[in-house]
Symmetry: C2
Subunit: 399 residues, 2 copies
């Protein structure tokens, strides 16, 4: 009587991310020496674990640290977060903030509330895989908009939407130190994007996990600030890149009228965000640790990006191009010729270096000859070794 | 240019739970003396916070405790959980287990994978609000199946499905110490339910958060055990009720072929379950703390249920009926006559006692004269006071 076929096949197509899956799961299982440019995590040594453990000793001996949290977020973290944002481009008010299980849940909440099957959602090309996968899992039709050194090409967005013959329900963007390309959208384009969204009545899904990790160049106002509270701007933020990803704590900044819907939707996802991590973060913020931590991290990430740039010049000069981010975690390398970065992956892993192939960042599989490299999680001397290994892998792949 | 209307209204209807929302958010804001029978949390004093803080001091000073976890779960917790389940009715194998952000995410994952708009999903009546809300949020059409003292009325299920003229995609059940009624499905009905699911090719969503909290009566095999690994049985479990809800850690036990889909779906929800809580739980389990903890909790919950029964006999004898659970957290009280338990809620809160009105547990608003009372989170003497207050509220509501 055992049923041999399961009725899920029809939904499988919407649940993508196979390249990232296989590579991350492989990386979790690998134990030998690999230079890991793949995952977008802070370096282990960048995580303030000693400070967090000290806070844990105090905060996590309180019995109330293990109860359900308020769905909109634990009040001490809510208050500390408001303080943290004061004076930044993301300064906001209490009724606009909802704590989430990382930035990823912010994207899931957005899609659950706004995206119905068949809705047009524009994504950057390349874009963050799990962001586009989430929109797909709600049945969105994706439209890929090119990215250049000034971020999303907003003129192309306008043209592609005109060609599509219908307005997008949502425009998904990572405007600052974009994942995966590392580029930042110019001020002019940010303003034009807001104009288009208002003309179309489209929501902007403003995903900005790296904005506080600028190590060069001049700061730009966030879409949150430029929008001035416009309900069309739904801003997703996270502690994953600035403190630690394993805590799974982020927040969304939205029109206050959305909060009841966010609470309802989140209750049907995970009830609330885990409370011990919220208490750890509240202690970290009220203890005044973030400012120093960010100064240290920015300086270190700059050093690492420069080390990766130098190594790329040494090993890939004349056979590839790459971006020059002013912050964040990622570089985007485009190999000349028709090198297949997905085929290269296994060869590179055998050489002892991991990355994410470019095709993983395009729902339609563009960027076959590109690679995303995370410079943030690897010390400079290991970065040099990793890039040298990557070059050897390219040589091996060539016939 | 500010847009005044938001395009979310069409989805709002699917995101329900308003009564529970308003009452829990009220409870979070109330500070004065209230006997809280509303939330389904373990008592604060039942949470092993001293032990967990001791584990935290060791585990959370390791930098790798704050990184992204493997999406399927952190290996130490995975291994400890397999050990914990050995010899129980939920004994299983590694490739069937996926760690989730609490039981709620198990339900969300199930619906994301299996429920398409318009699909028929049967729910118990009354049922767990956030469970049915999740199915609704994926566009399910719900069919309510009555519950009596032996759990879901499986004959009624068969009849109602015949009347509906189509087979359900899924049958949602909380077979043991059901939320909200506290009743347990008999062995005969469990077996018959499996037969029906196999005849129909329907998935069984087997949600069993309380099974390890039996304090009376004889244990029954879980649907997981009775199913013998049938891919139609999708089992959702959680540490929320047996250790602490704020950790947001649970697991699903499913056909191994589902795991790639579960991983993809979870990556688009929250990337992974928060790692510090997984490490705390792994330490709690490998430290051998769970067995003693469960013995203590079962004895205490029995005392509390008996105190609530005694108080109900004293104050509600002749004007209400109530269930007699052998475990878990909840009693279900049905008031005689046409007392409106939703209208009673505000009066009761003013008297200093909180509960969840019955209508919150039925998508169609049945059970207007019923109340869910959580006996687990309140000491016996406070239970007596709370039931006395509840009786006063009933008197005040009467004209």
């Amino acid at each position: 009587m055992r049923s041999s076929t399961l009725p899920y096949a029809t939904r499988a197509a919407g649940l993508v991310g196979s390249v990232i899956d296989s590579s991350t799961s492989l990386l979790h299982k690998q134990t030998h020496d690999i230079v890991r440019f793949a995952m977008g995590s802070p370096a282990a040594e960048a995580v303030p674990s000693e400070i967090l453990a000290g806070i844990a000793a105090h905060q996590l001996s309180r019995p109330d640290a293990y109860d359900y949290a308020a769905t909109e977020g634990d009040p001490p973290l809510h208050a500390a977060l408001l303080d943290m944002l004061r004076g930044t481009s993301d300064e906001t008010t209490a009724e606009r903030l909802t704590i989430t299980a990382g930035g990823m849940q912010g994207l899931d909440l957005f899609c659950k509330i706004f995206v119905d099957p068949g809705d047009l959602v524009t994504v950057e090309s390349p874009t963050y895989t799990n962001g586009s996968a989430t929109a797909l899992s709600y049945g969105a039709t994706l439209l890929e908009v090119p990215v250049d050194d000034e971020g999303m090409d907003v003129d192309a967005l306008e043209r592609l939407v005109a060609d599509a013959g219908r307005k997008p329900k949502a425009i998904y963007t990572i405007p600052t130190f974009q994942n995966p390309s590392g580029v930042t959208m110019s001020l002019e384009r940010r303003l034009r994007l807001l104009e288009l969204a208002r003309d179309w009545g489209s929501m902007i899904l403003d995903d900005d996990p790296y904005g506080l990790l600028r190590f060069a160049g001049d700061p730009l106002p966030t879409l949150r600030e430029l929008g001035g509270g416009d309900p069309l701007v739904f801003s997703v933020r996270t502690f994953s890149k600035i403190v630690a990803p394993g805590l799974r704590v982020g927040w969304v900044d939205t029109d206050p009228e959305l909060q009841p819907l966010l609470i309802n939707a989140k209750q049907a996802m995970d009830t609330c965000t885990n409370l011990p991590a919220q208490r750890l973060l509240a202690g970290f913020l009220t203890g005044g640790h973030l400012a120093d931590h960010l100064v240290t991290q920015r300086a270190e990430y700059r050093r690492r990006k420069e080390a990766m740039h130098a190594a790329l010049h040494e090993h890939f000069g004349g056979i590839a191009r790459w971006t020059d981010p002013d912050g964040g975690f990622f570089l985007w390398v485009t190999l000349d010729g028709d090198v297949d970065a997905t085929a290269l992956f296994d060869v590179a892993l055998a050489e002892g270096v991991a990355y994410i192939p470019g095709a993983a960042f395009s729902p339609s599989g563009r960027f076959a000859n590109a690679l995303r490299l995370c410079f943030a999680s690897t010390p400079p001397e290991r970065i040099r070794e990793g890039i040298a290994r990557l070059r050897r892998a390219v040589e091996k792949l060539r016939p």
